[in-house]
Structure formats: structure tokens, C-alpha cells
Symmetry: C2
Subunit: 218 residues, 2 copies
DNA sequence: ATTATTTTTTAGGTTTGCCTAAATTAAAAA
DNA sequence: TTTTTAATTTAGGCAAACCTAAAAAATAAT
């Protein structure tokens, strides 16, 4: 019943690549994000398929079964609860937590997750603003928009950012955090970079590559 | 530089078997406590020896090198800090923590250990009364005695108990915890069991098998 | 001091998860 | 539609950590 760490990581990766698009994820995409080779991925897909955790047709990519998605969501739950713990209790910076949470998410203990959740008072979002799935794996999704899709001169509030240490360090440096108020002053039509007003105070130019990792609400 | 979980467990086991006796531990003893077979142990000993973590002569048992002891002590440190966390913060009972701590002790992150220690306010003893090694692996040892070595009609205070869930549940049931006051009323000369007075209130008969897992101070 | 018993080691296998190189299939280009 | 390119899978290997069975060494018993 208990999966290996490697299998858990595959499930998590497949979930991440299929939730937004609803499309099957390819062997190569999995290999790239996991830092393994395509051949290794194929091999693992066969095992996960035999366990009915994924739907896999040769050469056609993969999606999760309900059972696989459920398992993946509970790993995400653990990851995000631990991230919250690291920041709120142990005073980690948000760019320091990823690596540690990647380890902690694989600790197997239902009672631990329950009590950690209780101790943290049932948090709903992790330090990057990502929603924490509940005990059953259910996730409440909110309507947010990528910053690079917001029209000029609209004000919005930062709701979440991608979990990438480099990005997080950069955002801290320019003063963007969850809850920051952003106004897109203008979009450069050549490179799609944005001129932002942050919290009504500072103007900063950010690339569209950064902007697409920032999700906001009007 | 980073060892596998399996290697860490071997180091820990070797430490546990060599600290009190100062004698080399045998292949079979290691196999028994780890739940593996002697052949597997021999194989691993060769690897640990090649890494200069243990001193190993064929057929002659094993001891740790300074480097190996240092590593083992830092794993113990993590184990005991996590145990303290589980009991003090997450409200685990002391008989529930072992299995989880066995997993948590293998999380690799120096910064995590430092900040956990800070968060817990630098605790000196884990929930069973075992001393927590400091950041350098140093452990302060206190003079304690096994309860079965205490003379009749002497009063003493419980300082530590062995980390075995069954034992811990039993001790809870009869009302013994760290700090309890015990008086050995009499020792049965046939089976060496002890009649105890606990906290000046309850009388309980305890086998010597239990008593040797309870360490006390006068 | 031999012999018998127990302990430890060696030899040869298994599983998991990774790899490279070659073969196959699918997709894109001519 | 055929050819070329790209993606994927298969085949065959490797390291880690376990195993069983057989051989060797150490210890205990006669």
C-alpha cells in the first residue's frame, strides 16, 4: 500500500503537469522536471499503470486515475503543510523551504499529518499562496490570473507565486509578497515586460517570464 | 558526503550497542536489532569500513571511528529533537512517537535542525528522559541507575526510560512517567520482581525485565 | 586436542530505480 | 506521400540493499 519516494515523486509531477491543462503529460516532460531520462520514466509508467495509479497508453502520454490523483493530492497536502510550518514556526524564508519540504512530504504517518494540521490551525494556503488540499484531497480553487494577462492600469492583489527559490528570492528583493498590491502601468509591446507599481510606492520593470509566475486577483 | 538512510541506521545501531559496553558489537547483534540477516550486515560493514566510519576486523565485531560516532550522534540528536517536538508541540503520547521519529531523523538539512532546536528552545532531554546531543554531537551524561539495582526502601526519581512503545504504554498505565517518585518496598528473591510505591500513592509489582528499563536518581 | 556447534563470511540471486544505446513509432517537413 | 526528425520504448547494464545456501572461522564441548 505504501509507495516508494520515487513513485510519490512521479505521481506529484504528473499531477502538476495535468491539473491546469487537463491534457496527458508526455514522457519527456516528466523526465525533464524530474531530472531523469525518458527510458527511466517509461519504466516507471509501466509500474504505476500496473498499480492503476495512472492511465497510460504507449506513446500517448499519461494522466492520473482517481486513485492516483488522490494519492498525489495528499502528498501535496503534506508538502504545503510542512512549508507552512517551516515559515510560520521555524522562521524559514520562503525561498529556503522547498528542498526541505521535498523531503518532509514523504514521511508516512496519517496521525502526524492530522496533528500537524491541528497544530498549525488548519491553514488554507501555503507560504506561496498555493491552496492546501484538505484531508480528503479536495482543493478549493480560486479564480486568479497570471499577472501578464492583466490589462494595463488595473490594480490587483498578489494571491500566489510559483515555488521556485530563485524566483522567490527575486520577488523578495523587489518587494513583492503575497498580498502585495500591484498596478500594471504599461506593457512593453516588444518583449512583453511590465512596468509595475508595487504597493503604490515602488516602480519596477519585470519580464513576462517573471510575470507569468505571479497570480493575482482584481 | 550524504549517507543513505540504511547506512545511517547501521551507524545508529552500532552506536547504541557500543556506548554503554565499550565493546565491539557483533554482526548477529546488529542483524537482530535491525531486522536484517547477518549476510546483509557483513556486506554493509565492508562499505562503512571503506568509508572509515567504523573499525571492522573480520569475525571480530565493530566499533565506530570518531567520524562515525559523530555522525551517529547527530542522527540521535535529530531523532530526539523530533521526539520532543512531537510530544510538546503536536501532543503525541510518548508511545506514539518512535516510528515517526525514525523517519524524521533522516531528513537532511542542517538549517532545519538548528531552527527546530531554536523553536523548541534548546531542549536537553527527549520525552523519555534521554539526553539530546548538542550541535557538535556532545552528550552530557548523568549518573543514573537501573531501578533493579536500587536497594530496598530507597527513594528515587525516574530520570529516563527505554524507547519501546510497549514498555511506554505499560508505564503510562501504571502511572510512571519522567519525574515520578519511586520507592522500592521489597524485591522478590525468586524472580527479582519489585514491589514499588509510586508517588507515595500506588503500590505496583513490576518484573525485573521492566525495572531494568527504568533509570533513576536517588 | 579433537570434534561439534555457533557465528560470520562468501557466493550467487532478487528488486528497485537509474543509466546508455539501439530500435520503434509518431509527428513534421519536403 | 515519402522522407526526415523527434519522441518513446525496448534491451541490456549497474549500484544499493536485501536475501538464501554453502563455506570458513571461531568458540564451546567432549
Amino acid at each position: 500500500m505504501t509507495n516508494t519516494i520515487s513513485k510519490e515523486n512521479y505521481l506529484k509531477t504528473i499531477l502538476q503537469h495535468t491539473t491546469d491543462t487537463n491534457e496527458p503529460v508526455t514522457t519527456n516532460d516528466i523526465a525533464n522536471t524530474m531530472g531523469t531520462k525518458a527510458a527511466s520514466v517509461t519504466e516507471m509508467l509501466k509500474k504505476l499503470s500496473a498499480q492503476k495509479l495512472i492511465k497510460y497508453k504507449k506513446y500517448k502520454g499519461v494522466t492520473l486515475t482517481n486513485s492516483g490523483r488522490q494519492q498525489a493530492l495528499l502528498i501535496i497536502r503534506k508538502h504545503r503543510l510542512w512549508e507552512y510550518f517551516l515559515v510560520e514556526k521555524l522562521k524559514f524564508r520562503w525561498d529556503e523551504i522547498h528542498e526541505v519540504a521535498e523531503q518532509l512530504e514523504h514521511i508516512q504517518s496519517d496521525i502526524l499529518v492530522d496533528r500537524l494540521n491541528l497544530f498549525l490551525e488548519n491553514p488554507q494556503f501555503d507560504p506561496h499562496g498555493a491552496p492546501i488540499p484538505n484531508k480528503k484531497g479536495a482543493i478549493k480553487k480560486s479564480e486568479t490570473f497570471k499577472l501578464n494577462e492583466v490589462r494595463d492600469n488595473k490594480e490587483s492583489i498578489v494571491k500566489s507565486v510559483s515555488d521556485q527559490p530563485d524566483l522567490l528570492r527575486y520577488l523578495s528583493k523587489i518587494g513583492i509578497s503575497i498580498g502585495s498590491k500591484l498596478k500594471v502601468i504599461e506593457q512593453n509591446s516588444f518583449d512583453q515586460s511590465l512596468l509595475l507599481l508595487i504597493n503604490n510606492k515602488v516602480k519596477v520593470q519585470v519580464s513576462s517570464d517573471i510575470a507569468k509566475h505571479i497570480r493575482v486577483q482584481p
